[in-house]
Point group: C2
Chain length 345, copies 2
DNA sequence: GACAGCCATGGGAGCGCTCCCAGACGTGAT
DNA sequence: ATCACGTCTGGGAGCGCTCCCATGGCTGTC
């Protein structure tokens, strides 16, 4: 036989049952009020809300999750390398956006850093058992099996960035091509004629986009493509340094460089200094990311800003919509980039 | 009357009940195995483990949380300003440590950014209702009421850093005094005689510690204190810049500066350049934090490294211990800092 | 004025787990 | 053999919620 109902929950907090008792209604009604069901009269609703306020009632998440078979939590998954490499503005920017968007829902953010395949597998299993309502995937590499795995399991999922031009998994991206164009147009607009670029690794889609943007801007301006002005980097400072040296040897007369990352711009800047070029007088420099590094460089670096916080927000909105309404018809959302002009160009 | 037991849980995943059936034991026994209770015979344990493996069973968190009255989740609370200001290495370093420490438990990390008092209140309420087992508080300011609020509610809690010398809330700190000493000793050891410092805001405990370290190092070396060599900053680049200018005006002969943050060192470096001083030849420069900024400065900045990842780990260990065993007898843990020597000194 | 139809409402059943008690089975001492 | 333990085990009860069905009061209609 059921024990007599107690006056409070196990840890001394009021339960829905007590709220019901105090408001003089049934449990179902309180539940309806809490969940915003329209099928409650205004009178009753007011009484229940009063009781909730009086008691300081807060729904018990676990109980709700168990009964309703949802978790009211989403996970944000970040390959650990990213927190190291792109600590800022990437990771914290996105996080800020996600958090802001979640602030007035009562959905929780679970953060998972993944550093090994074992951890990836573990997370996949975890997600598979519906312990989260959806997943936000940050900075996915082309060869990461996780997105497809999750998609296959039918777990709502949004990535930032895409792995290829024909990405099927819903994602939010920023306009890398447009950003690169902006940068190169700006350089051209300042009268620079020998505009070089230092690219990211060719197997990363984002790097290819930025290179495409560079090419497109030159084409649009009617300049001929000089392949000797394209230096290859891998987004690291060191690669920017060596690419810049090679560029300078091949084309000593170049007067501007668009780097596909701020980190490479730092390396390039060092090479320029070593080879006796001043910035921006001899060579104008533009980066990509608008990181803290760019702001604090000497001279401060002109850079393409990605709306990281906006991407975080957009990803979150997209995920919540997907959780509520099922897969979107258009899986892709592209946010504009912006050029932040500083003294380096 | 209870419905006949089904073959699987609601979302098609096996339940503990099915594991029990397959292993030919009762629910209680499976629960015991899962929770590592010793009161299970080896035979039975093996059978249950086999059944778990066969079925791919994963416990349902919400059900477990509800029944056991714990959440298997801890929250990491970060004032939003911090993700902006100290993006790196602070925040991501700690996060990496926390995540690493949690990796082989099945405790989840909930991340909460707090930007308004309203959100703080909301979080306090949330935590109060035992929706998390414990809280990690990052970068707390002296006037933040949250720590005491949580402590009062009996919620296991660990902060990083302390608000004052007699902090009562359990916390993990790094050796700011020792780090500053290290920096100044290093400067002295390189033959510098006029060692200045630029401090953080006087109302921040961490800033006072670094100043104490500076003083202590001078004292230990038998140098007299010259108050004119102490510049006041507030951890920002701009404050470093103006403090450096003033120092240079007051004491043109100074030949070294210990800055209590890398950001201030960047400002100081700019001022030095403007006033025609070279680094490190005329003036040696040392920062604090060992941020990405320091590594990429020109010349690269010698800086005091705080073991952020280690602090994250230590905080997590301390919190888990507190959850398991109750409040620690010694609330404080201090981790050593380390000097990273680069070309600026 | 009777009946269908609608709406707000109460509360039983059940989500998947843990807790704990009572029972079944040893074992060693008497 | 009997008894007193101790160990291992099964399963009832219950965690706090949501879902859903049945109920009862009202309205509108012919």
């Amino acid at each position: 036989m059921a024990m007599a109902r107690r006056g409070t929950g196990r840890d001394g907090r009021p339960t829905l049952e007590q709220v019901a008792a105090r408001a003089g209604v049934g449990r179902g009604t309180v539940s309806r009020v809490i969940n915003g069901s329209p099928r409650v009269s205004d009178r009753t609703r007011a009484a229940v809300e009063q009781a909730i306020a009086d008691l300081g009632y807060v729904p018990h998440r676990a109980a709700r999750a168990l009964a309703a078979n949802r978790s009211d939590a989403i996970a944000m998954v970040v390959p650990e390398a990213e927190t190291r490499l792109f600590a800022e503005p990437y990771f914290s920017g996105i996080l800020r956006g996600v958090s802001a968007e979640l602030a007035d829902t009562d959905i929780q953010l679970l953060l998972t850093l993944i550093r090994t395949p074992k951890e990836r597998a573990r997370f996949a299993q975890y997600a598979a058992s519906h312990r989260v309502d959806g997943v936000l995937l940050v900075s996915v590499h082309g060869d990461d099996p996780l997105p497809d795995q999750l998609a296959e399991m039918g777990i709502p999922l949004v990535m930032n960035g895409r792995r290829s031009a024909d990405e099927l998994v819903p994602h939010v991206d920023c306009d890398n091509i447009g950003g690169a164009q902006l940068a190169v147009e700006h350089l051209l607009g300042r009268g620079r004629t020998g505009v070089a670029t230092i690219t990211g690794p060719a197997d990363m889609y984002v790097a290819r986009c930025r290179l495409d943007g560079y090419r497109e801007a030159l084409r649009a301006a009617g300049r001929k493509q000089d392949e000797e002005l394209v230096g290859r980097g891998d987004f690291t400072e060191e690669s920017g340094h060596s690419a810049m040296r090679e560029l300078l040897i091949r084309r000593p007369g170049l007067d501007a460089v668009f780097c596909a990352s701020d980190l490479m711009a730092i390396g390039a800047r060092r090479a320029l200094r070593e080879m006796g070029r001043s910035v921006p007088d001899d060579v104008a420099l533009v980066g990509f990311d608008d990181s803290a590094l760019a702001r604090h460089m000497d001279p401060p670096l002109t850079s393409v800003r990605q709306p990281m916080e906006g991407m975080g927000r957009a990803m979150t909105r997209a995920l919540l919509a997907e959780i509520a309404d099922g897969p979107p018809e258009r899986p892709r959302l592209v946010l504009p980039t912006e050029l932040v002009r500083r003294a380096s160009s």
